[in-house]
Symmetry: C2
Subunit: 356 residues, 2 copies
């Protein structure tokens, strides 16, 4: 049990008017959680304090060697006023897997959850309530040793910041166009692809810019070894419904184990649908599209929850999916996951954690 | 030509006594160079100012998505008092290649060189003069947008910090033991392996810890696709002398194009030695070691210049090289490169740039 000091801000900021659209990740609340790490002391000095700039030596390791972990989850305000988190244990587990891969010390899971709850409770007035809105929670760790040698840092900061966010697609659930990348690679087995760390995101930028310029909103990555197996979308995992069966790439060491991914697999299985986690080649997808058995494609991620895919582009091949519309299963998954998140649908899988 | 403002420190720090050993990258000089970037203004507000902490929003992109470039080079004080840089144009060229790969705006090469010279000149009193010492120069760029969306930042800081450093091996040129990694992968073609960015270094930490625990000082990476071709050592490129021929992995998109690597190739060719840049499998190295034709192995990098390798470990195979001693060619390369860097050997290849 952490002893969290609460230093209330003396300068509360205006809470944004929900009637104006909330952009993603641009506005931050009054407080943040911080905890420090030193080899000899372990994690210590836990506090909820005013949201304020960080002051770091220019030689701090995070600026040079990318030793940084992050997570993303959301808090929702239910109609009865309760504050709900969706499967925070999964994010905490993944955070510590990332920490292990990149040599950041583990954060005890009870402390991690307590920290999230403490800062969300401090800024509970910031949780928006309009449909599709939520409070985005960004826990992250940065390496702070003022040292230019390459080795794991001896000091870290664990920080949680909060941002009220609107629906990912303000105009409602809307199919996206996705570019299948065949030049750049995001990650490879043995690397850091399954860790939630900056290095995977910086690797994706050049491809993302190229796809945007061509009118595509996201990039779908192929594996780095054979350059033919589907991996993930960087900000989302990917699902296909082919001839009645739900298929998604297996966790192979180079893709991120998404919490929404795991939830969709569980729901589909619960509904009696056949679900396969396995290798999927781009040729298989292209053939299914040609044959007309590629019934639905969707992405899963914390930000958009479910993102129907209306078009895939692979080299010169354009695959139109579901006539560019929203698939039935995609819609059902969206309604179910968001229904559980908001406390409107019975939480029979025990996914909801309440913030008192 | 940059208009660089000079704000001299009012609190000069004591310059470390050269009679005590200087550790690498722990002590920083009185000043640093900073320049800001905004999409509309481009690079602006160039200044040499007091070495001081950076203040950044907790949502600054560098903390989350690893958009950060760095370089490393050194300034030397020659016996006649001249201040010399070694091939800074190569570092600047590589920096802009990194910038391109990770969507950081280009820095005009004349401005980059002017910035290095300005900050080195400001702290020229900090350049140590004992044999093997130098002033390490660390230029880096960080992404500073306070925004949690994944896209290239619109704002950046370009910073140069300086650190007086002792010889990399205080006891003199000393063969190292190297662990050949067969579980983790550093980088893969199509990824960011040839860029000097944090993501490649964070990927190396877990393996480095494992190697250190086993008594090895560095890790040699194999390629991420076939897991059999030699890549690099993370902080160094690698060279082999096999049966009279110098061989080093070709630049394949996943290894860093080292400045010392390039210099060694040029020197060996100048000396009439056969040099091959090509794919080298670990089996080839193991066979050469068995046959007794693996004459020398050495690493090349800015920090250590030349690092003779006395032992390679691959799985359960221990390859002893040159009876663990320093090879003749390794020693000649070290003496020649450091001789040119210090102005003791004629700079016939035009590698030296003087700081006025």
């Amino acid at each position: 049990m952490l002893d969290i000091k609460f230093e209330k801000t003396k300068n509360p900021k205006p809470i944004p008017d929900e009637n104006n659209p909330l952009a993603f990740g641009t506005i931050f609340t009054d407080h943040m959680f911080i905890m420090d790490y030193e080899t000899k002391k372990g994690w210590h000095n836990a506090r909820v304090t005013e949201y304020a700039p960080l002051t770091l030596d220019p030689s701090a390791m995070v600026f040079h060697y990318g030793q940084e972990m992050f997570e993303g989850l959301k808090a929702y305000k239910a109609e009865d006023g309760k504050i709900l988190l969706f499967r925070p244990d999964k994010n905490i587990e993944r955070a510590n897997n990332t920490n292990k891969r990149i040599c950041i010390p583990q954060i005890p899971k009870e402390d991690f959850l307590q920290a999230i709850k403490a800062v969300v409770a401090a800024d509970k007035g910031w949780i928006p309530t309009k449909p599709g809105t939520s409070l985005y929670i960004r826990p992250f760790v940065i390496a702070t040793d003022p040292y230019l040698g390459v080795r794991p840092s001896d000091t870290y900061k664990f920080i949680i910041i909060l941002s009220p966010v609107g629906p990912y697609y303000p105009e409602g659930l809307n199919p996206v166009k996705i570019w299948i990348e065949d030049e750049y690679v995001r990650a490879v087995k043995g690397g850091i692809g399954e860790a939630k760390t900056g290095g995977n995101y910086v690797a994706s930028l050049a491809s993302q810019v190229k796809a945007h310029d061509a009118g595509y909103s996201q990039v779908l990555w192929l594996d780095g070894v054979e350059r033919k197996y589907i991996e993930e979308v960087g900000a989302m995992n990917i699902f296909f419904k082919i001839d009645g069966t739900v298929v998604t790439p297996m966790l192979n060491g180079s893709i991120l184990p998404g919490v929404t991914r795991d939830s969709c697999i569980a729901l589909c299985k619960n509904w009696g649908l056949p679900v396969e986690e396995r290798k999927i080649s781009i040729d298989e997808i292209y053939e299914a599209a040609q044959k007309g058995t590629l019934e639905e494609v969707w992405g899963t991620g914390t930000a958009a929850v479910i993102s129907p895919v209306g078009q895939l582009r692979w080299k010169d091949h354009i695959m139109q999916i579901n006539d560019g519309g929203i698939g039935e299963l995609s819609q059902k998954l969206y309604d179910t996951v968001t229904g559980i998140q908001l406390g409107k649908i019975k939480d029979s899988l025990n996914w909801i954690e309440e913030v008192e």
